[in-house]
Symmetry: C2
Subunit: 319 residues, 2 copies
């Protein structure tokens, strides 16, 4: 597929900017689309030195502008999304606007511009509170517990339907939380931010027993890129995560060790999840994608270490 232009929505975001860098290394022509609401030009510093790279500032909710921004016969990595999960209970319309409506617009562009393939970042939270871990892709009918995950589930369904209607090619990835270089939000940032402000004491959401899997962004990007190289990824849905999981307490201990701090930890002992809609457990089965040759290079502890070190060396990200 080397000749097509590759569009990356949310291209200035965490996963998007890492993906753009890697695609450019592989000599693809890359266009990052971003509204710069949470994306940062800073993350694209390396990309901007490459003549195969372009940024287009665009609100993807504007269907007309979106469609006219995209060249026929290209490939789209659709990674942009609202991802303010903690505030889902207060901001109950944003996932419809930023995730469902935007994905509708992207799909319309796919049809009108005869896009060769769309690759979509969904979430491991689509399984709701599963009671099978690791959770496989064909796990039983999920009961949704967050508006974010539900919107991603809806986008998945739009993609498979457009594929059925128009023979659109796709790969859907259900990510666990991603860590690594250019990381912008999540518990590692929250903890580092709090610990820098107050070295002696830290309050955490929930009882700390929430147990989750995380993936390093490099491993995530490798999977994304495999999906445009290997035809066996076509019209398939894959979980994306590591084989291990870690509790919030363990993660906090590790972060404190890296930062050489020993704060008093204040927990919400009666809460088994961090916020409404937060799944207390996430561990995905990755057997399906491993059979196609993908494997992780970094485990969770290495990923956390990498993330903390990145945040410390870019302290403005903690503001």
């Amino acid at each position: 597929m080397k000749k097509e232009t590759i569009y990356v929505t949310g291209g200035a975001g965490f996963v998007g900017s890492n993906l753009c860098e890697k695609l450019l290394l592989l000599k693809y022509k890359v266009v990052a689309l971003d509204n710069f609401k949470t994306g940062r030009k800073f993350f694209l510093k390396k990309c901007l030195q490459n003549s195969n790279f372009q940024i287009k500032k665009l609100d993807l909710k504007n269907k007309k502008k979106l469609i006219s921004a995209i060249k026929p016969n290209s490939v789209i990595f659709h990674l942009s999304a609202n991802a303010d999960l903690q505030f889902g209970i207060d901001n109950r319309l944003i996932d419809i606007k930023e995730n469902i409506q935007v994905t509708h617009n992207i799909l319309e562009a796919c049809i009108k511009k005869k896009i060769k393939k769309i690759i979509f970042s969904s979430t491991g939270s689509v399984y709701g509170e599963a009671n099978l871990y690791p959770t496989p892709e064909n796990y039983k009918y999920p009961i949704q517990t967050s508006l974010y995950a539900n919107s991603k589930n809806c986008c998945e369904g739009m993609i498979t339907t457009y594929s059925k209607y128009f023979n659109l090619n796709y790969t859907i990835f259900r990510f666990v939380s991603v860590l690594g270089q250019k990381y912008t939000h999540g518990h590692v940032k929250d903890f580092c931010k709090k610990l820098i402000k107050n070295k002696k004491e830290i309050k955490i959401f929930g009882n700390g027993k929430q147990k989750k899997s995380y993936i390093h962004v490099d491993d995530c990007v490798n999977a994304l890129i495999l999906s445009i190289k290997n035809k066996k990824f076509d019209k398939e849905i894959f979980n994306l995560g590591t084989e291990d999981w870690i509790t919030v307490n363990q993660s906090l201990n590790l972060i404190c060790k890296i930062l050489k701090l020993k704060p008093k930890v204040i927990r919400e002992e009666k809460k088994r999840s961090g916020w409404p809609g937060d799944n207390p457990k996430i561990l995905l089965s990755t057997n399906k994608i491993k059979k196609l040759g993908w494997k992780t290079k970094k485990n969770i502890k290495e990923s956390i270490k990498d993330t903390v070190e990145y945040l410390i060396s870019n302290p403005f990200l903690l503001k």
Copy 2:
């Protein structure tokens, strides 16, 4: 729950108007909300003679007007939806607007008006092309194949999430196609309409081997009403259908027999489904709701007969 006002969205529609009639018989105060896009005042003739009944013409997409139309502490049957399934491939935004956004508005009203319970009409099509018949509620993770079913699946997820966030009470029903008095759209109408126009020949969508389950509206309404009487329906999802299914060919034969016609039948022999997104097979397991005391009174053949006779005695519905 007899003292609360009961709101029925889509109250002038097929299932809605039948439900309003039955609720009034049971002495509830009923308010039908409808935009009269496909709903008909004609269906509410009986209801309008009852002083416990009110109609409010309302576009449910107008969140402010919707919220102010609803009294606190009431119950909402949310039945309104776009249901133009055949044209899903052409009209790809309507399900987001009429189903997802409207359900968001309804849920906001539920929170703001402390609604006691929302009862939602989803569809048996949410299972996509299942490969287990009859399909149970906890069947494996579905791959969506129509924008309509996907939007209903999204609404289900919004409802379960609001329930998680705000402890909202709900019952979700996944209907097969409904037949009976006040029937407005579907294959029985299409066939009758075509046969009245041309008694000698009829063209049908697909090869006629599509095999589906149907339910009579009286049985459907009985299930809806049970859900506000029996606490075991609270926060649960139920399939709603009959135990039998029928092919399109068999259904057409029966309709011709009732109409005393013997037309030549022209099929699309190579098409296993009627239109893009049409599931060629639907049969739902109803064990879960049957355990709570519900059962069907009419089988599919009786339901088809009832529907054809209703359409013939109200010929303007065939125009």
